[in-house]
């Protein structure tokens, strides 16, 4: 088969345009470095009316927004979800992992919840506290300057709280709580659960003249057409393209990092999804940011004489220590919120208030912590509304079901009366949880796919059991009735399937010892001095904090390191 080779040698090839790759592209190209950015999906700009879903009404979709094509509904801004046609993956029998893939410029940053939490001093050194897992080779102090820069560059709202292990930053002011959030505040306080304004990368105030300000449509998951929320596409990549230092390759699936006889990287090969042809481009440095598992897959598929086990895999740890955030949730019916007077309470896309981890796990039967997210309100109807129009009648001894005009009133009566509590917790990374190459299966491009093996341990199960106890207590304290039944041991306490929270990290973990880690403290492969990983694969652990803010801070730090190496002509 003919392979198309480009003669140009880039300073840096960045693979993937999400949080990590977008940030690397911006920092490197701003410094005058030539960058080839290779993205597996199409070009995407939330301001493009052809692609925009923001402010669409449910009836603008023939299926009223149902999730046939997009797992979270038609208007959700992710091209791809837990399954992609022609690109399968599997799990070892008796285990299960769900792998989310957003194939588009900006990747998952177009749909994410914008929850932007710094890891705290303790999160980098958890092993010192409970002996479990591994410490990061870097500390909060190493990352803090980058978190600071990130806050100012990208924008995040929140409040200074001076709380241990929940570092403050340079915050924009938060929006005022909604009504159901006032109920949550009341309930959480009564239950002695700390509650405070959430920290989301949504612009409640202008940070520059290039981006607009939030206009409170509550649809950050659709990606903002005025760039009022952070997406890597709109806020990092698209501005970087204007500088003239970036060549963007879209619809280009990288399958391998190429190496020379000495084992150093020389570039990448990719398949153009539009014409099916193979391409090779050359670069002095390769920066992988394809997402934790896709990066592991590329490395493991990059076998050569110098790297018979896959690139960067002399430790045999590429793909190991895969871990996702734990998740559990419970709906709460608030009778007081029946028959609401309606008004626009869309607010920002997501919660205005939340509960950070508030306890000391040394006094509990599980390690590490979790935070609680709050949802609810009179939100934009979508497919599914009114499905069980009067199921809450059961709480009043009334009949459920029926037909006729009264159903209209049932739907209106209960609209906006439910609050959703979601726990998001830290898992202990285990070597036994991993992804590996499945040599028996290839995707439609002919590239071997991944096989996962992931099982929660007792630590995580006990943690979500605690979440559910907390949800019930808060539910009653906010004057509500928890919905459904509390999950028990038999159903694993209702814990999410690994991968479902879409925070998978850890597959090329960071460390000082090449025998027990894959990348060094600058996210460079121990085995090869010109390959870096700037997605969530280097995470040693991930606290209960959503990973995006740390992915970007580390990508910024690594990019500055790459700039200094290029200047020193070390590469």
């Amino acid at each position: 088969m003919e392979i198309i080779k480009s003669k140009k040698e880039y300073d840096v090839i960045v693979v993937g345009s999400g949080a990590g790759g977008g940030m690397a592209t911006k920092i490197l190209s701003d410094a005058g470095i030539s960058v080839a950015l290779v993205e597996s999906g199409p070009y995407f700009d939330p301001a493009n009316p052809e692609q925009q879903t923001q402010l669409k009404w449910p009836w603008e979709s023939p299926r009223r927004g149902a999730g046939t094509n997009r797992a979270f509904g038609d208007f959700h801004m992710s091209y791809g979800d837990w399954s992609l046609d022609g690109e399968p993956y599997s799990s070892v029998e008796g285990t299960s992992f769900k792998w989310w893939r957003s194939r588009m410029l900006g990747g998952r940053t177009n749909h994410w919840g914008r929850i932007s939490l710094r890891f705290g001093p303790r999160d980098f050194k958890s092993k010192d506290f409970d002996g479990l897992g591994e410490n990061w080779p870097i500390s909060y102090e190493d990352v803090k300057p980058y978190y600071d820069k990130l806050d100012k560059l990208v924008g995040v709202y929140g409040t200074k709280e001076n709380m241990f292990n929940e570092p403050d930053g340079f915050f924009l002011p938060p929006p005022k709580p909604r009504l159901h959030e006032l109920f949550y505040i009341k309930g959480a306080r009564k239950s002695n659960v700390k509650v405070m304004p959430s920290r989301l990368s949504v612009l409640t105030k202008r940070i520059n003249n290039e981006r607009g300000i939030c206009f409170y449509c509550g649809q950050c998951d659709r990606s903002c057409s005025v760039y009022g929320d952070f997406s890597s596409s709109s806020c990092l990549v698209i501005p970087s393209l204007k500088g003239g230092k970036v060549d963007l390759f879209v619809n280009s699936m990288v399958n391998e990092v190429m190496t020379d006889n000495n084992g150093r990287a020389t570039g990448v090969s990719f398949i153009n999804k539009e014409n099916g042809r193979d391409y090779k481009i050359k670069g002095k440095i390769v920066v992988l940011a394809a997402s934790a598992c896709a990066t592991a897959r590329i490395l493991l598929n990059s076998k050569s004489k110098a790297h018979p086990n896959g690139l960067g895999n002399s430790s045999n740890l590429v793909g190991k220590y895969l871990h996702d955030t734990t998740g559990a949730g419970r709906g709460v019916f608030i009778p007081e919120l029946m028959n609401r007077k309606t008004y626009n309470e869309d607010g920002v896309g997501g919660m205005h208030v939340y509960s950070p981890w508030w306890l000391d796990s040394r006094k509990l039967d599980f390690p590490r912590g979790y935070h609680i997210e709050v949802g609810g309100g009179m939100s934009l109807p979508q497919y599914g509304i009114g499905w069980n129009p009067n199921e809450f009648n059961k709480f009043f001894g009334l009949r459920t079901g029926g037909y006729g005009d009264s159903l209209r009133n049932d739907v209106k009566k209960y609209y906006g009366s439910t609050v959703y509590l979601s726990g998001r917790g830290e898992a202990i990374p285990l070597k036994e949880n991993y992804c590996e190459i499945d040599n028996n299966t290839k995707d439609k491009y002919g590239v071997p796919v991944l096989k996962f093996r992931y099982k929660w341990s007792d630590y995580e199960l006990k943690q979500v059991k605690h979440m559910h106890d907390t949800f019930e207590e808060i539910a009653y304290n906010m004057g509500g009735i928890p919905l459904g039944t509390k999950p028990t041991k038999k159903d694993n306490y209702g814990i999410s399937v690994p991968g479902e929270i879409i925070h998978e990290v850890g597959t090329t973990r960071m460390g000082n010892d090449p025998k027990t880690s894959v990348v060094n403290k600058y996210e460079r492969l121990h085995d090869v001095d010109n390959v870096y990983v700037v997605d969530a694969a280097p995470f040693v652990s991930q606290a209960d904090k959503n990973p995006t803010w740390t992915i970007m801070a580390l990508s910024m730090r690594t990019s500055e390191y790459i700039i200094s190496e290029l200047k020193k002509k070390n590469v």
Binding site: R64, C217, Y403, Y415
Partner: protein, 238 residues
């Protein structure tokens, strides 16, 4: 190329065989293209191809559609606020029957939606010796009284009760995701605005209030347009 032409090229380029073999686009194809064009909601080319499939072809017979229309009008009778016709509820049944056709949907159109019609007909036949479509509204209501409530434990009716719940769900979801349904619901959002907290009269209704300490940290909407600046300790100074 304008949007309509680009959609056309995507669809013609991919639906392929059946259309490209024709020398030109027939009037029928043109109508179908216009139908896809009607929905403008940020689709990828793969999704457009899927929509084309869903919006073309026919799943329910005209008789079946008439039966769905009759059922839907009894589940949610028209009133001054709106009706199932204006809400496009019957069309939604037809679309969902074709749309929920991935392996994960397990033949939803056939095994759930069409099955519902068959089961309702069976009950009508047993009771009145005629299909649902031929029954009077009063007769249909006699049947619905048996299958519309979750407290009926009659084992022979459990399938019908489950299927009726789906029909009720589809009718209500179709209604309340339509323009008139959302208006009736009273939803006021999906429009640019500036959120500045719960309206004072609502706070009063629920006897709740904002903590001063909390609210003092929240955004001052009169200064939202001033570019943010901080002192070195992270205190906002603009």
């Amino acid at each position: 190329m304008n949007r309509r032409d680009s959609i056309k090229s995507i669809i013609l380029g991919s639906i392929g065989a059946s259309l490209t073999m024709k020398s030109c686009i027939t009037q029928e194809d043109e109508i179908l293209l216009n139908q896809v064009w009607e929905y403008n909601y940020g689709r990828t080319s793969e999704e457009l191809k899927w929509d084309y499939k869903v919006l073309t072809g026919k799943f329910f017979s005209n008789n079946e559609l008439a039966a769905i229309d009759k059922i839907a009008n009894i589940i949610l009778p028209p009133n001054e606020n709106g009706n199932i016709k204006d809400a496009g509820v019957v069309e939604l049944f037809e679309i969902i029957a074709k749309d929920f056709s991935t392996p994960a949907h397990n033949e939803y159109g056939e095994k759930v939606l069409r099955r519902g019609l068959i089961v309702f007909d069976e009950i009508c036949n047993n009771r009145f010796n005629k299909n649902l479509l031929d029954c009077s509204e009063a007769e249909i209501k006699i049947v619905f009284d048996k299958i519309a409530y979750n407290d009926n434990k009659d084992e022979d009716l459990q399938e019908a009760i489950r299927l009726f719940a789906v029909y009720r769900g589809m009718v209500l979801t179709g209604y309340f995701t339509s323009e008139i349904g959302i208006k009736e619901l009273g939803y006021k959002g999906n429009i640019p605005n500036v959120w500045d907290g719960v309206p004072p009269e609502i706070l009063k209704d629920y006897s709740v209030s904002y903590d001063k300490e909390w609210i003092d940290k929240c955004v001052d909407q009169s200064k939202r347009n001033e570019i943010a600046e901080w002192d070195e300790d992270g205190n906002l100074i603009t």
